[in-house]
Symmetry: C2
Subunit: 224 residues, 2 copies
Amino acid sequence: MNTHALPAAAAPFTAAERDAVYKAIHTRRDVRDQFLTDPLPDAVVMRLLEAAHHAPSVGFMQPWNFILIRDPAQRELIWRAFAAANDEATRMFSGARQSTYRSLKLEGIRKAPLNICVTCDRERGGKVVLGRTHNANMDVYSTVCAIQNLWLASRAEGVGLGWVSIFRDADLRTLLGIPDRIEIVGYLCLGYVDDLYTRPELEVKGWNKRLPLEDLVFEGKWQD
Amino acid sequence: MNTHALPAAAAPFTAAERDAVYKAIHTRRDVRDQFLTDPLPDAVVMRLLEAAHHAPSVGFMQPWNFILIRDPAQRELIWRAFAAANDEATRMFSGARQSTYRSLKLEGIRKAPLNICVTCDRERGGKVVLGRTHNANMDVYSTVCAIQNLWLASRAEGVGLGWVSIFRDADLRTLLGIPDRIEIVGYLCLGYVDDLYTRPELEVKGWNKRLPLEDLVFEGKWQD
């Protein structure tokens, strides 16, 4: 057993450091349209990916991969796949809700200089994975934690990030050459931003309201 | 349209603030045994829950609920459910791997003064949810983002957090009175910590190695 096996003192956070973490959490936005087109420096991209790679993972499985997409021609094709899926999505709403849906910009695929497809290799840890024995989805959840790390790190770097979920899975799979055994978890658009909404865009635009937190917290048991 | 509809200048992070966000990300640990038994002040718990509640959610659906469990007798019953599932899990490993598995402490249910069960109400946004039209799991992913926010905020507060995934779903459902229509996403143990491992505990204990990030990043397309 080496000395690394011993827990070390947990470096405490100063009030200023704590506030910085909360600032990232509370001012993070799902960015669709405020992207600047300046490319992201490699050093910044690497810090963001390192942040993602330091997410928790079930059984320390690290099931994620990151496909970086910068080529405008490729992003144009991916945007077309989005647009086809979004046409289908639009038709699922009706009346005023459909008009509002149509008016929303829901992605920055062509505007954001960097897109990242985040995947989960469910076989990486073999068949039996510590912690996944009773919840088969824990590996995908680990991958989502990596995305949230990437999102918060982006905020701290002045980089906006938007998660685009309106794709037919098969379209992305074909365009990015992703094998069937690999799960596609998220498709992200990243670029520098000067401006951000001060509240979630869907709240600002009247799509939904913030729920009161106290209605969502229960003591001891589920309450109806 | 009110002034909130306009994007505001994205408050830039100072280098110190950025470093604080990375400190939370890189020193966050899955805590199983270093919990102190001191109760967490209500104000701290509320800040942690607010952080979770400010996670991104598909269609601004906010599908999460948080069940707070503090009663030692209730935590004892939940620990027994863990122990039963963990016996099953142990038998899925063989040989030296089983011995190592047996030696690992995988939860702090009875030691940590606060447990939180995080759930996802998949019906909260109605049948058709913006952004969930082509990926039915986006609501659960939103809930996982809330957990990761909670985890990083905990680190900044000096609070350790461990995610326990080794339960039979039906056991937790019964013990916490959770209806079938609600998805159980995570069961978390929280308490103050003085010490944390400097690297992931499963790495320290030889269960798995950190993968080189460069092997996980692809340009443009999936590579095999």
